[in-house]
């Protein structure tokens, strides 16, 4: 920006002079000025940098960041091992159940694939993403026995169910958050950025050194850019050191597998952190140049910070829940009941109809099959509708909380770390796709059994042959990285926009400052 300015100031000369030589001369002088400016920027940056590095706040920042990162690493190591073992245990229990159900295709049809679990992510130390409040599983489970009579007994067909979040009711611990990278970046780094810039311009104004600097042939833009760069470098030094210590601890412990793609995403997270810090540096410079006393500037900045970073993400989320209504609990139960009562309304004659194993399937068997399939399908549809309404509500609130960059940065880190709400939505998509696969598998396996009447649903109409366990499709939770980057891109762009606006504001206001 500064360079462009200078080139522009040069252009009147260029117009005044006629001819190629003069033009070239002007070009050369512009180049020279640009080089001079670059040198100047670096010179002032260096001066500022030395100032910062020798200051008390730098020492505090270093201690604070390193402390936080070490605690994060230690806390996470214990947690990750526990989570991984718990996950393995649950998955193998679920598979064992499936293996025993594989004795007969009918059992698979009534019991379904069982609960499907979300795999713990290696990068969850970057963003915990409120995982404690998000369900860890979704599952295809059976409803159990539906009807028995002396002639037959009918079990319902499996359907997908989405458990609501289950924060442990037994947990009597006081509220606290596991410190993750998201917290360190969104809260600590933004505060630190403010502390490094609140007096950047106002204190120089107070001491009169700004007048001295500007009396030399230095443009104001240069001064501003240098101050910005110096603060950014100063903050990035302790942050990078702390982050490296954190990663070193995690990496040497061996229990956290970090593959190449994880390192790539960590790199993007660090980049996001720099953009986020720049936003607050821009804000600090803006306020500092508007306000002449540094204490007032700090007061204003702290208040903005408290509202923007700490309170808005929480309050706005809860405030906006009313704007996007979801299916209420009463409505849900009412619709569930109406689905259940359909049996008596439309299929009342089924009471008297006994399914049989005759081939081809009798009318009775087919009717039972139709009812059971419809019942499972419609209930599943209702569950899904309820879930989608809830997801839409949360996503709406999340998009509004993005007016705070602290939310944006958290969401971006969550997407990259593969945790949190976006990840849960992705998990649900995988789960649904898997449910379809499982269903097709059941139909196709039944089709090749010559002894089955091919009326899936009642025991009599379904194949009862054992199924080879290996041939059953298994759910494997995986994350698509393309999706992660895409989801993060919006937030990164938003952060960049915040930065550009605030820095432009700082630039404009600094240009007009009376020294």
């Amino acid at each position: 920006m500064v360079l462009e300015n200078l080139v522009k100031t040069c252009s009147p000369n260029q117009r005044a002079g006629a001819g190629c030589a003069k033009e070239r001369l002007c070009q050369v002088s512009a180049d020279r000025t640009a080089r001079k400016i670059k040198k100047m920027v670096w010179h002032i940056t260096k001066r500022e940098l030395y100032d910062h590095l020798n200051s008390l706040r730098f020492a505090f920042t270093t201690v604070l960041l390193i402390g936080l990162m070490i605690v994060n690493a230690i806390g996470y190591l214990g947690e990750h091992t526990a989570q991984s073992t718990a996950y393995q245990k649950k998955v193998s229990a679920s598979l064992d159940k499936m293996r025993s159900n594989a004795e007969s295709l009918y059992n698979l049809l009534t019991e379904g694939p069982g609960p499907l679990y979300k795999k713990p992510r290696p990068l969850s130390f970057c963003a915990n993403g409120g995982e404690t409040f998000i369900p860890e599983s979704a599952g295809g489970v059976g409803e159990g026995l539906f009807m028995t009579s002396s002639r037959f007994s009918i079990s319902t067909t499996w359907r997908m169910k989405y458990p609501q979040s289950n924060p442990s009711l037994w947990d009597l611990m006081p509220d606290y958050t596991n410190v993750d990278w998201g917290d360190i970046i969104s809260i600590a780094l933004s505060l630190i950025a403010i502390l490094f810039t609140f007096d950047a311009i106002s204190s120089e104004q107070e001491r009169g050194t700004l007048r001295l600097t500007l009396s030399n042939s230095i443009s104001r833009g240069t001064v501003l850019v240098s101050k910005f760069l110096a603060a950014l470098i100063t903050i990035s030094i302790p942050f990078l050191i702390a982050a490296l210590i954190n990663l070193f601890l995690l990496y040497t412990s061996g229990s956290v597998p970090l593959a190449a793609s994880e390192w790539g995403r960590l790199g993007v997270i660090v980049f996001i952190a720099f953009v986020y810090v720049s936003i607050f540096l821009g804000l600090g410079l803006l306020i500092s140049s508007r306000v002449s006393s540094s204490s007032t500037s700090l007061t204003i900045l702290l208040l903005i910070w408290v509202v923007w970073v700490v309170l808005l993400p929480a309050t706005i989320g809860a405030l906006t829940s009313g704007l996007q209504p979801t299916m209420t609990h009463n409505e849900l139960t009412a619709r569930q009941q109406s689905l259940a009562s359909r049996f008596f309304e439309q299929y009342d004659e089924l009471w008297r109809k006994t399914p049989s194993r005759e081939i081809p399937a009798t009318e009775e068997t087919l009717l039972w099959s139709k009812y059971l399939t419809e019942d499972a399908r419609d209930n599943e549809k209702l569950n899904e509708e309820h879930l989608n309404a809830q997801i839409a509500q949360v996503q709406f609130s999340r998009s509004i909380t993005r007016i705070s960059p602290a939310s944006s940065v958290r969401y971006a880190i969550e997407s990259l770390a593969g945790t949190g709400f976006t990840r849960h939505v992705q998990f649900l998509k995988h789960v649904r796709r898997y449910a379809g696969e499982f269903r097709t598998f059941l139909t196709e396996t039944d089709r090749v059994d010559p002894e089955s009447p091919h009326a899936l649903g009642p025991k009599e109409g379904t194949s009862q042959k054992p199924v080879r366990f290996e041939s059953i499709p298994k759910f494997e939770d995986r994350i698509s990285f393309g999706g992660a980057y895409n989801a993060a891109a919006t937030d990164i762009l938003l952060l960049l926009l915040f930065f550009v606006v605030l820095f432009a504001g700082a630039f404009l206001s600094f240009i007009r400052v009376d020294v």
Partner: protein
Amino acid sequence: MFLTLIRRELLDNLMTFRFAAAVVIMLLLVVANTVVLIKDYEGRLADYNTAVKTHRQELLERKTYSDGMGKITLDRPPNPLSIFNTGLDKRSGNEINVSHAFTPTIWDAKKHEAENSFFNIFTSIDIVLIFQGILSLLALIFAYNAIAGEYEHGTLRLVLSHPVRRGSILFAKYIGAIVCLFVPLLMSLLLMLILLTTSATISLNTDDFLRIGGIVFTSLIYLSLFYLIGMLISAITRRTSTALILSIFVWGFLVLVYPNLILTAVDTAPQTDTKPATYHQVKQMWEEFERKRKQFLRNDAVPGEDWKLSFYTRFNDQPSRLLYYHYPGGDLETIDEKSEPQVPHAQNYHHYLGMLTVNIAERRWLIRKPVFETIYVQPANKARILLKFSPAGLYDAATEAWTGTDLNGTQDFFRAAQRYRQAVVNYLHDEKIFASRQWFSADQGSVDWNTLPQFSFHRSDIAINAKRAVPDLFLLFMMNILLFIAIFLVFVKSEV
């Protein structure tokens, strides 16, 4: 002279930008959050009312005593003061089954279905959290130049040239600033109370207002503590810029970092290893029950289990909660003539087993209680003690005690539920219900559930709240005094 000093300090503080900013920000935050919190409370209250109604309805539909025993569900009303400090009020279970077969605890509680539980990912902010974070920051912003500023401007030398003692200067500064800081606190609280009283669903009684008074008093002490911390930093550093930076870092550490850090660093998560052995112990008790049941049947005049009366067994097996029990019951509509001779024997049988169930439930509670204490309560208490090393933690604990949303206050409900269970069991004993026909059969009319003891729950008295809050309050107060003495010593000995 002292009054002049105070007046000067007051004017100095009141005419500043930071005072105006403090008032505006407090009003803004408190009002915005009160609206959210009231909405949240109203939602929970509506859920509670629906739950009470449905649970009552479910109970009234039961025709026999044994059938109703699994259906007595008590609901925990939301605490209106949770607007101030949510504590455990929102998180812990809010409905619990009461039966003669087990002692109800907080671990057996369930939760009403919420409209959209995904919303928990947005952290909720209560009024105390605002005070805890913002008031302390404001106090430090008021304090950082209290002494250092006077050193820098040289005004201290001027003041001390008058016959004024240094102690009174300090005290005047302290009083002036606290009065100024109290203004935004009180204003925001008043606005909040206005909002609370305009809401039709929230009814606060006299005790509640006294509790709010307790919260205000605690807030004042907390405020003064942070002002003194700022003053000490100001007196030691003697430079405003250093004092400011140091103050902000101290604030960040005490309020933001320490509470989250200490619980992440010190592993206080519940350990669940002791469970399988104890669960086995519990299961053995019920094997004994089964043995005794079979023995009873062998000795009985109607041998074997071949009842013409069809009974079912209520069965509950939850290893994670150390629950394992079953007891027989029935919900017969009619008893035909052929079965009639069996009825007295069945009554005998149910009487014997009912008494045995109650007995075993009480013995099992002796096993469950210490296990729960070690697994859940002790780590939680340890975590709370660790948090109290920061004034923010002390403040949170004290206000939780005032509002009754702390661990003790939440447990109060479950203690009441336990007492209620005892009352129900006594009623069953006294009225000889286990031995009655209505235990398993409704052929001579359904049970009149209104004769059962009624449950009512009132939050603990204000005196108990005060008793629970006092230790933390006292600690906060002592910290105040110590800090003041420290500031005095530093200031008296310093050269101007």
